[in-house]
């Protein structure tokens, strides 16, 4: 199939960017979306042009490195699918495809489709952990954890930190990302001792990074490649307010 791509090109963090149009020919339906970009890049390179910079690594949908907004949807049209797992059979001959980077003040563009997601790490640094030094642990079976709780924790822990939730949110809010971590650890007995401070500190850091507020559009859960539920956002709201009124953070 032949496609027309409109790709955001920006040579550096402070440079002015713009959409540029590229035509690609003979795209196989079995290619992944990123392989289609690889082919475009090989072509650009041999023609002496600078290839399109985009983030990617595992290409198995688990590392969370890749991410681009494809036709107005983070990671493209399929649900629960990262850009690297999107295959060209989803498109048809003659399609026009818009490819843009995640758009958020807290995710500055580094080049073309690559953004800096360091803000996510800084949110985790404020409490996205259980403070247990190596060697402290008791036997893994010492605290039984109901299958339900373990499953719920896993549902939240499945987050790959790709940032699609922020990209999809009309407010560039990082609530789903932050809530996934608060929800993961809050669902487990190990996470209880720091539950109150965790919600408080992570939420305030999220604000400080310049992410927007949640207005409950649920675009995030629809865009999440791991299908993490916005219910965890409600949970985090509750934890945060409880912490605020508890006054013991």
């Amino acid at each position: 199939m032949n496609l027309r791509l409109h790709i955001w090109r920006q040579s550096g963090p402070d440079a002015q960017g713009m959409l540029k149009t590229y035509d690609v020919q003979n795209v196989s339906e079995h290619m992944s979306f990123l392989e289609m970009l690889d082919v475009l890049n090989e072509d650009l390179l041999t023609k002496g042009e600078i290839p399109v910079a985009f983030d990617h690594d595992c290409r198995e949908g688990i590392c969370g490195t890749c991410g681009m907004v494809i036709n107005g949807r983070p990671h493209g049209p399929l649900v629960r699918t990262t850009a690297c797992q999107l295959h060209m059979r989803t498109f048809k001959d003659g399609d026009e495809i818009y490819i843009e980077p995640w758009r958020a003040r807290a995710f500055p563009v580094m080049r073309d489709l690559i953004v800096d997601r360091g803000s996510f790490d800084r949110i985790i640094q404020k409490g996205g952990f259980v403070s247990v030094n190596t060697g402290n642990a008791q036997d893994g079976n010492a605290i039984p954890i109901s299958k339900k709780d373990a499953d719920r924790a896993m549902d939240a822990a499945a987050c790959i930190g790709c940032g699609a939730c922020v990209a999809a949110c009309p407010n560039s809010s990082a609530m789903l990302f932050t809530a996934a971590k608060v929800g993961h650890l809050g669902s487990l007995p190990q996470g209880q001792t720091e539950r109150s401070t965790r919600a408080m500190n992570m939420v305030l850091q999220m604000d400080a990074e310049g992410f927007g507020a949640c207005t409950n559009h649920y675009e995030c859960e629809a865009a999440c490649p791991k299908g993490i539920s916005a219910e965890f956002i409600a949970q985090m709201n509750k934890d945060f307010v409880a912490s605020a009124f508890g006054g013991r953070d």
Binding site: S11, H30, P51, D55, D57, M110, I124, Q125, V130, T134
Partner: protein
């Protein structure tokens, strides 16, 4: 130079305890005076950096990713082994040790493997305490599954995302230390070189992948946890960025590279679909618990799988290895797949595939149970191939997955360059010639959480470290050399892309040094690799400059190292005139096609010393002695 593996004496059960008791300690107040560089933030690197910081050392951690949560440890699906014996099915430290030695085809160091089995249980405890959501039974206790190469259920898992969950656990521990100011984390930095001063590893050179700045970082010890080199084959299950550069540059600075030819080919990957293919995707080996592997008995049978009656199917693993069947170790299962495809019985495009069929399991357990166990894997398969594995058998084919070889290390995980520690897949230590499923996660975390925190203290406590700064001659020279290399590459302005060279190198390696090797092929490879390397250094094209985010340059630098390293692999494969584990030499096989080891001549680890680009490296042998497990022919029949 004689290799000293520094194995403590005494009975194997007591070596680690004894060693820990004898290791000198660094006073808690003095720990903050030591700076440690950790390169790589996968399971081994992140766990090491976090733990060393918890102890009080000043840690600088480096990753080429944009975040410390992205390393390819994250892609491990199936699980992590530990000798907990929660299932009461006869597991023990000894059995895990024995299985690992045997699985590694008797080419691993006994003492290291025993320690690995010992600390495996603490890993599970530590990860549970961190909040890793391991699968649980209804009663609330940890759940286990069985895995290839073992007859007990000792594998802990978190859905099909065990590697991810363990890495996130280590990442969180690391981020906690970053928040506390004990770890300085450097994202988007690629290691370009190792700085050796007075014979000790004292720093690294990095390139900032955003600004292009090349600079040195000095410390009292350098820990490499930079993963494996499977991408030398271009197509592998490794992530796109996985590369050999860090370990290879350390090799060029004097660290010995051990057993580079030991390559694990994973039996259950999704077959290649076209030339544009950028990587291969692994389907967890756990699928072999319930899936049955078969091909048609007839050559060139093109009927769709549901049209082939039971009697005309060859469940070849169950036939050849009745006691392990579909759960045979990876090397055996991979080679068996290659064999049936070479016979012309392969399925799918190009005949490079075998069926992994779940219809029996679905009939027996119901679609819901299968979906619970493998739902996300089935989804992934369908996304990639467009076929529904609940209805049509999966097609799988072996692919390069893991590299057992790596920098040579002693019992303390220190290389022959003092102060250079190597952890995880980057070292050669624990898996011998073949790694068992669910053991990579175990080794990475064992090294990072429970070994290096002790042994690095011993190194520091022995003293002798002088202050060395960024202005030292060695640091400045190393920075200059890296800058020159980058400038040289950019100046070529040839015609071919780095990817095209990488792809061509991969093809040579897969054909000549892949699942099966022979003398003639390896010699051919040794002839073609230098030619390709020469062309690379004349004709590669890298647009843009070095002072910006330049992905072509990143790839170019990595491919340049693969083009040198590939030769080392072939040298190693050529000298090892036997078949063992992930190294199968066609000249050395039994009558029924099984690997034939030569314990009399090759019961050693081959550690190579660098002598210059293109020059034949020098072989150093570490003889392996098996005092606790009797050398035997591996049999899974």
């Amino acid at each position: 130079m004689a290799l000293n593996s520094n194995i403590p004496d005494g009975p194997i059960q007591q070596k680690w305890d004894k060693h820990r008791a004898e290791l000198k300690l660094v006073n808690p107040a003095n720990k903050r005076k030591y700076n440690v560089i950790v390169v790589g933030t996968g399971l081994a690197g992140a766990s090491a950096a976090a733990t060393l910081a918890e102890l009080g050392y000043n840690v600088s951690a480096f990753t080429y990713h944009d975040s410390a949560r992205r390393a390819h440890s994250i892609a491990a699906q199936g699980g992590i082994n530990a000798a907990k014996n929660y299932q009461n099915d006869g597991d023990s430290v000894w059995r895990l040790f024995y299985d690992t030695i045997k699985g590694g085809d008797f080419r691993a160091r006994e003492s290291n493997v025993y320690r690995l089995a010992q600390v495996s249980t603490s890993i599970i405890d530590q990860c549970v305490a961190q909040g890793v959501p391991f699968a649980r039974e209804y009663g609330g206790y940890l759940s286990n599954r069985s895995f290839g190469g073992a007859q007990v259920s000792r594998t802990f898992y978190a859905r099909g995302q065990t590697g991810q969950q363990l890495l996130i656990g280590a990442y969180q521990a690391l981020q906690r230390q970053v928040g506390l100011g004990k770890v300085k984390l450097h994202n988007k930095q690629e290691m370009m070189d190792l700085i050796v001063v007075d014979g000790r590893a004292r720093g690294i050179v990095t390139r900032d992948m955003v600004t292009g700045k090349v600079q040195s970082h000095m410390a009292d010890a350098v820990v490499l946890a930079t993963g494996g080199y499977g991408n030398v084959f271009y197509l592998s299950t490794n992530a796109m960025a996985c590369n050999v550069t860090a370990t290879y540059r350390a090799h060029k600075r004097g660290a010995f590279f051990a057993n580079p030819c030991y390559t694990q080919i994973h039996p259950t990957c999704i077959p290649q679909s076209g030339d544009y293919q950028s990587k291969l995707t692994l389907m967890s080996e756990s699928l072999r618990n319930d899936g049955r592997i078969w091909v048609p008995k007839q050559k060139g049978d093109t009927r769709s799988p549901d049209q082939i009656p039971e009697t005309e199917r060859d469940y070849y693993l169950e036939r050849k290895y009745p006691s392990f069947g579909n759960l045979s170790p990876r090397d055996i299962a991979s080679r068996a797949a290659k064999e049936v495809c070479d016979e012309g019985r392969g399925v799918g495009p190009g005949g490079l595939g075998v069926y992994l069929d779940f219809s029996d399991a679905i009939r027996r357990l119901g679609e819901k149970t299968i979906a619970d166990r493998y739902g996300n894997l089935f989804e992934m398969y369908e996304r990639i191939t467009g076929e529904n594995p609940y209805k049509v058998p999966m097609r799988i084919y072996p692919a390069v997955h893991y590299t057992m070889g790596g920098l040579w290390v002693d019992y303390n995980l220190m290389s022959n360059v003092p102060g250079l520690f190597v952890l995880g897949e980057a070292n050669f230590s624990d898996h011998g010639a073949n790694r068992l499923g669910a053991s990579a996660l175990m080794q990475g975390l064992a090294d990072g959480y429970f070994v290096i925190p002790y042994t690095i203290g011993g190194y520091f406590a022995n003293g002798g470290l002088q202050a060395v700064g960024n202005d030292s001659q060695e640091a400045r020279t190393a920075v200059q050399e890296s800058e020159q290399k980058i400038a040289a590459l950019l100046a070529l302005n040839g015609k071919r892309s780095p990817t095209s060279f990488h792809r061509e190198l991969g093809k040579i390696m897969w054909d000549k040094c892949g699942m099966a090797r022979n003398e003639q092929g390896l010699k051919e490879a040794l002839k073609r690799i230098p030619e390709l390397r020469e062309e690379f250094w004349q004709n590669v094209k890298i647009p843009g400059s070095g002072a910006e985010l330049n992905q072509s340059l990143e790839l170019g630098l990595r491919v340049a190292d693969f083009l040198e390293f590939a030769e080392l692999m072939c040298f190693d494969a050529l000298q090892r005139n036997e078949s063992c584990g992930g190294h199968f030499r066609e000249e050395y096989q039994t009558e029924d096609g099984e690997a034939k080891r030569n314990d009399d001549e090759y019961c050693y680890a081959a550690a190579w010393e660098y002598n210059g680009v293109g020059a034949t490296p020098t072989l150093h042998k570490e003889d392996l002695s098996f005092d606790n497990v009797k050398l035997a022919t591996r049999s899974y029949k």
